[in-house]
């Protein structure tokens, strides 16, 4: 399998990372060498194997749904690139 420029552009769109054309070529080369390496896995027959999704294969603990932090609006907005004291501000979404 090869990852061509069209595929790179497609992944870049899915990842929300814009890639300019001269970087796309280098990226496609890098991804191809990485996927060539990854495809070694095809040597293994894994039909009967259960996937391991997490090492901690226990049921996650339940907890009460209660509010533990109050009045942290300022904390939450403290690192925002743009806000109006109450909300995060983003470029206009709806006309």
């Amino acid at each position: 399998m090869t990852i061509d420029l069209k595929t790179v552009k497609h992944i870049s769109k899915l990842s929300r990372i814009s890639i300019d054309d001269n970087k796309a070529k280098k990226l496609s080369d890098d991804l191809n060498s990485i996927f060539k390496f990854i495809e070694k896995l095809n040597e293994l027959d894994t039909k009967e194997i259960e996937p391991l999704t997490s090492i901690a294969e226990t049921n996650l603990k339940l907890r009460k749904d209660e509010i533990k932090s109050k009045n942290i609006r300022e904390d939450i907005l403290k690192n925002s690139p743009e806000d109006n004291k109450d909300f995060f501000v983003v470029p206009k979404v709806v006309e």
Binding site: S12, I17, L41, S54, I55, A56, V90
Partner: protein, 485 residues
């Protein structure tokens, strides 16, 4: 008396408890040395003024029952620290000042530790040489233009250069053990679930673990004792009796069965590493341990599986960096354009590469072929260890397939960089604990490490084996102060 900065963590704790030294004296000594270390580029953010205030506060009202009484520590910049900038080595978090504290650093503060600064690392911990950091590469104090390993490269370099008496790192595929090995220091990756991940900038959530990096095994047991705790803020934190790793540290390994996996004798490995491994084997035997040949047949598939699982989780974890709630934001003509430019300008090349690999393997039509396949292989790798642990108590391997390399040597070939982690990655996939201890030098005089892998939640056992080997190996780091200015 010798220099304060030459003292080990354990001895500093003892001297402060005996009032031979004050926290202020110790903190000042490490800060003064750190101030002369610009060439190493280990600090992203210095917290010297605050640290001195906190040292004075400790001395005014000392509590000598603490495990780290007034001890200064610099920490990897992947741990969120309340009111101290936390960048994860990335432009996208260049100005991020957390309003909360990670559980691991909180544990350190609770035991009297003082944070003197935040240490450089590969961007979002993605790298094996500290060269992907937005804040520039880090020098290994062993020799000029040598990488300190990665991703905890600022941590390993600072520790080896004695800018901090001990430090903490995170390890997703080898990021504590490989830099420890490259700098002649000790690094422990605990069992998954031992140290809380709360407040650690996430890379690959099913693999990430925080751990101590220290001058020797005793210091390692001490710091690990402080770091490890059950935490309900991390849903994968495991509740179990953590014991007293320092008190129970002993070098008696009589009757212990130690496995030697034949698959770790890889082609092209320098002969010094083979010899070092044999030296470790002989020490174990002479200390009463029993060596058992074992097989971990799927070892060669660990790295390719890792390079699906880790990027997949990273692509999901790093989706949060969109320029809206915190972090860097670029200007765009609309919201989508703003997202795309923010992420394009805010992330470095390696991080973008991994996000894109992860996005691809999770995308429609490819999920089964890549992601599901990798998770099945992960099961096989874990089964290999389960099988081996029916016969042995622990496993001994080299930590890395080579010693530290030159800055720039591997940056153009991602796969050759990834191969650095061939001996460390399988352990993360299986969620096991492993420690790297310095064990010798190659023909260039660069340090080499041995790795001891344990059963889940049996850190005590690998600490004890490491302690027993350390006593016989008499490793000495050849570091001079060429970097001091």
């Amino acid at each position: 008396m010798s220099n304060i900065t030459d003292l080990k963590l354990f001895d500093l704790v003892e001297k402060i408890k005996k009032k031979d030294l004050s926290s202020k004296e110790v903190t000042e000594a490490f800060i003064q040395r750190s101030q002369k270390s610009k060439k190493l580029n280990t600090y992203i953010t210095e917290n010297f003024e605050d640290a001195l205030k906190n040292a004075k506060k400790f001395d005014d009202k000392p509590d000598f029952n603490k495990k780290l009484p007034g001890i200064p520590l610099a920490v990897k910049d992947l741990f969120c620290t309340n009111n101290i900038r936390t960048t994860a080595g990335s432009k996208i978090l260049e100005n991020f000042i957390p309003t909360y504290e990670s559980t691991v650093t909180q544990n350190i503060l609770n035991e009297g530790g003082i944070i003197i600064g935040k240490l450089n690392c590969d961007e979002f911990a993605m790298g094996s040489s500290n060269e992907t950091s937005y804040f520039g590469n880090v020098q290994n104090p062993i020799s000029e233009n040598l990488v300190p390993g990665g991703s905890s490269g600022g941590s390993s370099s600072s520790l080896a250069a004695k800018l901090t008496p001990a430090t903490i790192g995170t390890d997703t595929g080898g990021s504590i053990r490989q830099p420890a090995s490259f700098t002649g220091t000790v690094g422990l990756k605990p069992t998954y679930g031992s140290c809380s991940r709360y407040g650690i900038v996430a890379f690959a959530s099913s693999l990430d673990q925080a751990g101590p990096m220290t001058q020797d095994v005793k210091d390692c047991a001490l710091l690990f004792q402080v770091m490890s705790s059950y935490d309900n803020k991390d849903s994968t934190s495991v509740e179990f009796n953590r014991g007293n790793y320092l008190k129970d540290l002993n070098d008696n390994i009589k009757g212990k069965k130690i496995g030697i996996p034949k698959q770790y004798r890889v082609d092209g490995m320098p002969k010094e590493i083979d010899e070092l491994w044999d030296k470790g084997i002989k020490i174990i035997e002479s200390n009463g341990g029993e060596i058992v040949e074992i097989s971990l047949p799927n070892t060669n598939y660990a790295l390719p599986a890792y390079y699906i699982v880790a990027p997949a989780e990273a692509s999901s974890n790093l989706a949060r960096y969109d320029g809206v709630k915190y972090g860097f934001r670029s200007k765009g003509i609309n919201l989508i354009d703003m997202y795309e430019k923010t992420r394009s300008e805010g992330f470095g090349d390696e991080v973008k590469r991994r996000i894109m690999i992860g996005t691809y393997v999770l995308s429609s039509g490819y999920y089964d072929a890549y992601y599901l396949k990798a998770q099945k292989v992960r099961r096989l790798i874990k089964n290999d260890f389960d099988e081996a642990y029916k016969k042995v108590d622990a496993i001994l391997t080299p930590s890395t397939p080579s010693s530290a390399f030159k800055i720039g040597e591997k940056t153009n070939d991602p796969v050759s960089m990834y191969l650095n982690d061939i001996f460390t990655v399988p352990i993360n996939l299986a969620g096991l604990p492993a420690i790297s201890i310095p064990a010798g030098h190659d023909n260039k005089g660069y340090p080499l490490g041995l790795q001891i892998i344990g059963k889940a939640f049996n850190e005590q056992n690998i600490l004890n084996i490491a302690y027993s080997i350390e006593k016989n190996i008499n490793f000495k780091n050849n570091i001079n102060d060429w970097w001091i200015n």
